[in-house]
């Protein structure tokens, strides 16, 4: 289980100045269980976007956005609606945003922040990784997480140590910031490279879950088991 919360509306809209039309994606897995990416939230986001003057070309909640194979199949059926949108708004965890970004040739804006669940790391069938930093900045990095894709976890561009595309730390490992650069170039958003990202608030990383987060799917199941065995 990966817990995510919706970002403030003003932050979401600040991502959308370059887009007139959007496709909204939700995730029926963890994000639905977190109350931040199910049918209800996707409908609400669509409504708010319409009211704000954006055209929503379509929306869909897919069972698990972290499963690229599944996402590919589901989106293929509605490719026209995806094609006609300038970009995509994803109501899901950081992994979902990264996974969709690998399938679709458009910018995928994160509507959610992925929040720490204490030391529980969750499980997902995906190569994309998220440190649950609590302030998702995938908007500025082309949907690649700088905290995990760059060895030093740098937030503001390459350290300059890479050689022929490989990270200075591990030969064979691609430089994460070069991947970010390539992706931003591909989606024509190199302008985002000069966005300065503030230092991360570390206290958000490993904090224990709030009580209301514990009611989400897996925590609830566990709590029930504990109660029953009492």
């Amino acid at each position: 289980m990966i817990y995510s919360e919706q970002k403030p509306w003003s932050e979401i809209t600040s991502y959308l100045s370059e887009s007139e039309s959007l496709f909204v994606l939700g995730c029926g897995g963890c994000a639905a269980a977190s109350g931040s990416g199910g049918e209800e939230q996707v409908e609400e986001l669509t409504h708010k976007l319409n009211r704000g003057g954006w055209t929503v070309t379509g929306s869909k909640v897919i069972e698990f956005l972290c499963n690229k194979g599944l996402v590919g199949i589901r989106l293929a059926r509605i490719s026209d609606k995806i094609e006609s949108a300038d970009s995509i708004l994803g109501a899901c965890c950081g992994i979902g945003i990264q996974a969709v970004g690998k399938i679709v040739d458009k910018q995928v804006h994160p509507a959610n922040d992925t929040v720490s669940m204490g030391h529980f790391h969750g499980a997902w069938p995906s190569e994309e990784t998220c440190e649950r930093c609590g302030e998702c900045l995938l908007e500025y990095t082309g949907g690649l997480c700088p905290l995990t894709v760059c060895t030093k976890g740098l937030l503001n561009g390459a350290c300059g140590g890479s050689h022929e595309g490989e990270c200075e730390v591990e030969p064979g490992r691609p430089c994460g910031w070069e991947l970010i650069y390539d992706r931003l170039r591909d989606i024509d958003r190199l302008d985002l490279l000069t966005t300065y990202n503030d230092p991360k608030p570390r206290e958000k990383y490993q904090k224990e879950p709030e009580m209301d987060q514990r009611h989400s799917l897996f925590w609830a199941i566990e709590a029930e088991e504990v109660e029953e065995s009492d």
Partner: protein, 292 residues
């Protein structure tokens, strides 16, 4: 205003020379060597446990060099210190009378002689520049007021040899926006590439003065080693061949340095020498380039 700062702000050609603190407490020899060439340079640039090799700190050595009457650029990396330690060290630098600071991210820990160390990287170099700006304005990262502000002149690094180079240009622009007053470049061996980089910087409206990085190659083997092991350094094959084919490596190496200086100073604002043990040859390099 110090001599180095004056030159940078007036866009006059500035010369800095790297000083590498030793592993251990015996810094007498280093101080002597530097003192001998001090008249030729505007500031000594003191490395912070370069290549992640544990050594005596740049703060202490910068201070000791300053005591001998020379200006310094105190290098500070994000590799080993979290934001509390970084801010505290910057305050300490000011208290010790240091004027200039170079904000660096730092090499990764596994590249040095303590590969088991925990890498910190709580901040990155642009964030460190923002911290210096704020401390100069009298507040820390949490917006608490300082009793006495710092007065530090911040600089940063650029890598003209990066491929692709565009991300470096974007990052340089970000650093300039965050208050970097000067840039020093990684070692340059290909003047053409450097010139192209400078053109791109100016096109991107980055007007911050740049010091071209000059590092003498002690042998063809060293050049190959750098290509394989030193982050951010790259020596073109033609230069290695040139060294290989020469009977007097020292002479050839110094000649390459002067050549690069001669061909680059026209498009930048100064020279940053990294003699790496060849401090005694600094006068020769500068004389050959008409800078001494």
């Amino acid at each position: 205003m110090t001599k180095f700062q004056d030159k940078i702000l007036e866009n006059e050609l500035a010369v800095t020379c790297e000083a590498g603190p030793p592993k251990g407490t015996d810094i007498g020899e280093l101080l002597e060597e530097l003192d001998e060439i001090g008249y030729l340079v505007d500031a000594f640039n003191v490395t912070d446990q370069q290549s992640s090799v544990m050594r005596v700190g740049s703060l202490a050595v910068s201070h000791r060099i300053k005591e001998t009457g020379h200006e310094t650029v105190y290098q500070l990396t994000c590799r080993d210190r979290n934001r509390i330690a970084l801010q505290s060290d910057l305050l300490s630098a000011d208290v010790l009378g240091l004027e200039n600071v170079l904000a660096l991210t730092g090499d990764y820990t596994t590249l040095g002689d303590h590969p088991h160390a925990k890498p910190v990287f709580d901040l990155d170099s642009p964030q460190l520049l923002a911290v210096i700006r704020d401390l100069n304005d009298g507040v820390d990262m949490e917006n608490n007021d300082l009793k006495g502000t710092t007065n530090l002149f911040p600089g940063a690094a650029v890598n003209p040899g990066a491929d692709p180079v565009e991300p470096q240009v974007h990052k340089a622009k970000m650093k300039a926006n965050l208050g970097a007053k000067f840039f020093q470049s990684q070692a340059v061996y290909d003047p053409r590439l450097f010139k192209e980089f400078m053109e791109k910087l100016r096109e991107a409206k980055v007007e911050v003065p740049v010091l071209v990085g000059i590092l003498p190659l002690k042998s063809p083997g060293m050049a190959r080693f750098m290509n394989q092991n030193i982050a951010g350094a790259y020596v073109p094959e033609e230069v290695i061949d040139e060294l290989d084919g020469s009977s007097d490596t020292l002479k050839k190496s110094l000649e390459i340095c002067s050549r690069v200086i001669n061909q680059t100073v026209g498009c930048c604002e100064g020279v940053h020498l990294m003699p790496m043990g060849w401090e005694t040859h600094v006068p020769e390099i500068l004389e050959k380039s008409g800078l001494a």
